[in-house]
Amino acid sequence: MPKLVTASQFPDPDAAYLALVEARRNLSDAEASQLDTRLVLILANHIGDLGVLREAIALAKQAA
């Protein structure tokens, strides 16, 4: 049973997107990549569910 939520959860998705955009504004590729990596770790821990994490990884790989 998939547990990863792919339906939109933010009441204001544009605001969430903006927060991510602003976080990387004026960063080099390397800096942005480092930021993203830290974010992945923080969010993965917040989810705290290995099954959900694996589903998310699969979805991310599939979307490429």
Partner: protein, 537 residues
Amino acid sequence: MPGAFVNTTRKSVYHYDYRRSRDQDSRGVVRHPVVVVGAGPVGLAAAIDLALHGVPVILLDDADRIGEGSRGICWSKRTLEILDRLGVGERLVAQGVTWKLGKVFCGDELLFSFDLLPEAGHKMPAFINLQQFYLEKALVDRALEIDNLELRWKNRVTGLDRLNDGARLTIETPDGSYRLDADWLIAADGARSTVRGLLGLDFAGVTFEDKFLIADVRMAADIPTERRFWFAPTFHSGQSALMHRQPDDVWRVDLQLGPDADPVAEQDPQRVRARLDKVLTSHPYELEWVSIYTFNCRRLDRFVHDRVIFVGDAAHQVSPFGARGANSGIQDAENLAWKLAAFIKGESGDGLIASYEIERIQAADENIGHSTRSTDFMSPRSSAERRLRDAVLELAPQAEFARRMVNSGRLSVATVYDSPLSTPDETDFAGTAKLGAPLPDAPLMQENGTPTHLLDNLHGQFQVVYVKDGARPRAPEGLALSVIGEDYLDHTGIFAQRLDATPGATYLVRPDQHLCARWRQFDPAAVARAHRRALQR
């Protein structure tokens, strides 16, 4: 363990004399119940344990000295408990450096520290550091005290023929070769096992390319006794470093050099000194021993090949991070010894020997898994992997979850066996005791007021540990019985807490101190059934 060794001569080497054995003058080929090949820590432990179980053992070694070869320094609590049962634990603890604090640094900043044995009431410490040659010396001394154990130095195995119910060995000695038959052959002859080669067995796994410099230095320094690990310290650019204390003012320094390091050039004393000077700033030191190593994570597909059984590095290899090499080998030896003894004495079914493989392959896979994960963290394989690793280190000072991900080697603890020998619990038990694991130790007091420990009283035989609840029950045949509250007092309550012991609680303990069944009440039929199951009878 470590791959290539060259270099400086060890100061502490013990020599033993080759002696011609009666078997070499015999007309026919002499047959022995058990022959162990390799008198390292694992072969010695196996031979001593078997002999203490009453099985005569011949232990062969191709050298006539100890003090050379691979260099384990870190001995875990479970290993010390085994060695204590074999009679050398207290000596080793007295000789070794006891430590339980680990510190992990990133750059020059302390990321976090950890305490490996935060609770009291264990006879043995979490870890001691002790040069492997001291441990081998203690085991050889012990072996020499035992009547039915014969140690043969300068006996090198050169040939092996499989018999229907045993193995025939060809052995080379300083005065020629001779042959010997064994009902059972235990191969404890290390990572480059001759026996494994003679059987043509595949030893597949992963080889890691990173090279490490390992150095033992003698230095009088007022540095606390703790394991120190650095990711990217300023004194060793971009790589990891480890520093650990041993007895005799000797310190182990382990430096990651990367995959491209030249193993010969890196052992040049001047080059080594240049590296060490940066680590050991301002402390004068003497170089004792240097080596470069790489490592593998691999194991044999099967550990039992009819009458030839593999233990230790001959059966499996891991990285040195986590103290899982020699420690797991000694745990192999203990697991096999009582089973083989029971089988030879006709007390068990075939399944008992098979359970050695089941249990110790589970342990080997656990060790290989931990070891591989530690290595992935310490030696990222690409810049993308390194970015992830570095992100964990960057977050670690602020976020507990990231500290938990930092992996500088997960230190060895005993495996909890999913074993056919265990009788599944019928009721829930809390506490730290686990079915299929060694019983946690606990302080007890003898009737006469003498303090003792639980594991001190579980010695090489099946035992029922029963918590007093009225009259003393009668143990089923072949089982020793200890009554807590009568034979021993749980004066601190720690036993009750760790084993979730309520009045009437009954525990069946294997000769290797592992818990194989437990009940809330004593039922002799259930105990006898569990005992038969644990012997696969």
